[in-house]
C-alpha cells in the first residue's frame, strides 16, 4: 500500500529511524555522540545533505543513465557535503573543529547513499524531500538522545551550546567510561535493545 505524504515524513522519526532501525550511519553515531552539541551539529549536517541530495537525485532520476547512477549519486552527495563543510568552517568554526573528519565522511555515510538508491531514484521530488527531511531529523534525534545519555552519565553535565551545563550536581561521581569508545557501543546496544522491546507490540 502506498504511503501518504505524512507517513513518508514520519517513518524516519520512528519506523525507520536511521541508527536504531536501519542501523546505518553508525560510524559518526559511535564517534561523535560524546556531547549533545556535537550530536545535533552532526545531525543537522546530515539532514541538510540528505534532503538536498534526495531532491537533486529525484529531480534527475529520469536523466541519469542507470549504469552510471552510483557515480552520479556520489557526485551529488559529495557536492552537498563540501557545501556543508565550507559553510561550517565559515560560520561555526569551533563545531567544525570538533566534528573534524566526520563531516567529509558524510560522503561515505550509508544513509544519503542508501536513500538515493532505495528512495530518491524511484519517487518524485515531494516524497523524496519529505523522506530526506524525516530521516535526517530522525537521525538528529537519535544522535541527540544517545549523546544526552552518554554525556550526562559520563560528565554529569550537558553541552547544549559551547559551554557545559551541570545537571547532576557536585556530588555526582562522573562515570567516564561512557564517553570513551567502548561506552558508545554499550549505549548503542542498550538503545537498540530498548527500541526492539518497544517495537514488539
Amino acid at each position: 500500500m502506498a504511503k501518504t505524504l505524512t507517513q513518508e515524513f514520519t517513518k524516519g522519526l520512528w519506523a525507520e529511524i536511521p541508527p536504531f532501525r536501519l542501523v546505518l550511519g553508525l560510524c559518526p553515531t559511535l564517534a561523535i555522540t560524546n556531547t549533545v552539541e556535537n550530536a545535533y551539529g552532526m545531525g543537522i549536517a546530515v539532514t541538510f545533505v540528505l534532503t538536498f541530495s534526495n531532491i537533486l537525485i529525484s529531480a534527475l532520476r529520469k536523466i541519469i543513465p542507470p549504469k552510471v547512477r552510483i557515480v552520479a549519486f556520489i557526485v551529488a552527495i559529495a557536492t552537498f557535503v563540501c557545501v556543508v563543510e565550507l559553510v561550517m568552517q565559515a560560520y561555526t568554526y569551533s563545531l567544525f573543529m570538533k566534528l573534524g573528519i566526520y563531516i567529509p565522511l558524510i560522503v561515505v555515510n550509508c544513509i544519503p547513499m542508501g536513500r538515493a538508491e532505495a528512495f530518491a531514484s524511484r519517487y518524485g521530488i515531494v516524497r523524496s524531500t519529505l523522506d530526506g527531511l524525516g530521516l535526517g531529523i530522525g537521525y538528529t534525534l537519535a544522535l541527540s538522545m544517545l549523546a544526552t545519555f552518554r554525556e550526562i552519565i559520563a560528565t554529569g553535565s550537558i553541552t547544549l551550546y559551547e559551554k557545559p551545563i551541570a545537571v547532576l550536581g557536585a556530588s555526582f561521581e562522573p562515570f567516564k567510561f561512557l564517553v570513551a569508545a567502548p561506552g558508545a557501543f554499550i549505549c548503542l546496544g542498550l538503545m537498540l535493545g530498548i527500541m526492539n522491546i518497544l517495537g514488539k507490540k
Binding site: I64, K67, V68, V75, A76, T79, L86, A90
Partner: protein, 196 residues
C-alpha cells in the same frame, strides 16, 4: 553507442554543475574562513601578546611579501598610537615545529610578549611554553637589538626546567621574528601608520 554518449554527457554536466557551485561557494566563503581560522587558531595567542590594545588586532592586520612567502602582521593600538606589532614565526621544538606569535613595540624597540600558537611538545614540560605565562612573560621589555637567549647560553631567559630544548627553540624563534622585522622594517613602518 547512444547510451555511451548519454552517460558521458550526463556525468560531465553533473560534475560541471557541482564544480561550478563549489568554486563559487569557496570564493564567497574564503575570506570568512580565513578570519575564523585566525580567530580560533591564532586568536588566543594574538590577543594575549597584544593584551590591552584598544583595537581588534585580528581585523587590523596587513600582509607584506617576503621573497616568495606572504607574511601577516597584526597591529595593536595603545594610547591611540599603532605601536605594537605581532608577527608569526616558527621554531624547531623538541618534537617538530612550534608556531610562535612575537609582539614588539616599534617605537621603543622592545619586545612586548611571546606566545605559542601550535606545538607538539611534551605535556607538563615543554608544553609549559604555551600554558605557563611566566615563561613568555620573561621576554617582555627585552631590547630587540640582541636576540634573547636562555641563561645556559649566556642570556637572561630562564629556561623551563626539563625543557631546555623547547626554551632554546622559543628564543631561536623570537630571533627569527626579529630578523624578519629588521628585514622588512621600512615596509612595516610604512604600513603600520595606516592603522587607526
Amino acid at each position: 553507442m547512444r547510451e555511451m554518449i548519454k552517460m558521458i554527457v550526463v556525468l560531465t554536466a553533473i560534475s560541471m554543475a557541482s564544480g561550478g557551485l563549489l568554486a563559487a561557494l569557496r570564493e564567497g566563503t574564503q575570506e570568512r574562513i580565513e578570519i575564523q581560522t585566525l580567530e580560533f587558531v591564532k586568536g588566543p595567542a594574538i590577543r594575549s601578546v597584544l593584551e590591552g590594545s584598544s583595537n581588534d588586532p585580528i581585523t587590523s592586520r596587513f600582509q607584506i611579501k617576503d621573497g616568495d612567502a606572504l607574511r601577516t602582521f597584526f597591529v595593536g593600538v595603545f594610547d591611540g598610537q599603532p605601536t605594537a606589532l605581532a608577527l608569526e614565526t616558527s621554531a624547531k621544538g623538541f618534537k617538530g615545529d612550534m608556531g610562535l606569535m612575537v609582539a614588539l613595540d616599534v617605537k621603543q624597540n622592545k619586545l612586548i610578549g611571546v606566545a605559542v600558537t601550535t606545538h607538539a611538545e611534551t605535556a607538563g614540560l615543554g608544553a609549559k611554553a604555551q600554558s605557563d605565562p611566566k615563561f613568555g612573560g620573561q621576554f617582555k621589555g627585552a631590547s630587540i637589538a640582541a636576540p634573547p637567549k636562555v641563561t645556559q647560553d649566556g642570556g637572561s631567559i630562564n629556561a623551563i626546567s626539563g625543557a631546555t630544548i623547547t626554551s632554546r627553540a622559543v628564543c631561536g624563534g623570537v630571533a627569527g621574528a626579529l630578523a624578519t622585522y629588521e628585514k622588512l622594517k621600512p615596509q612595516i613602518l610604512e604600513k603600520i601608520k595606516e592603522v587607526k
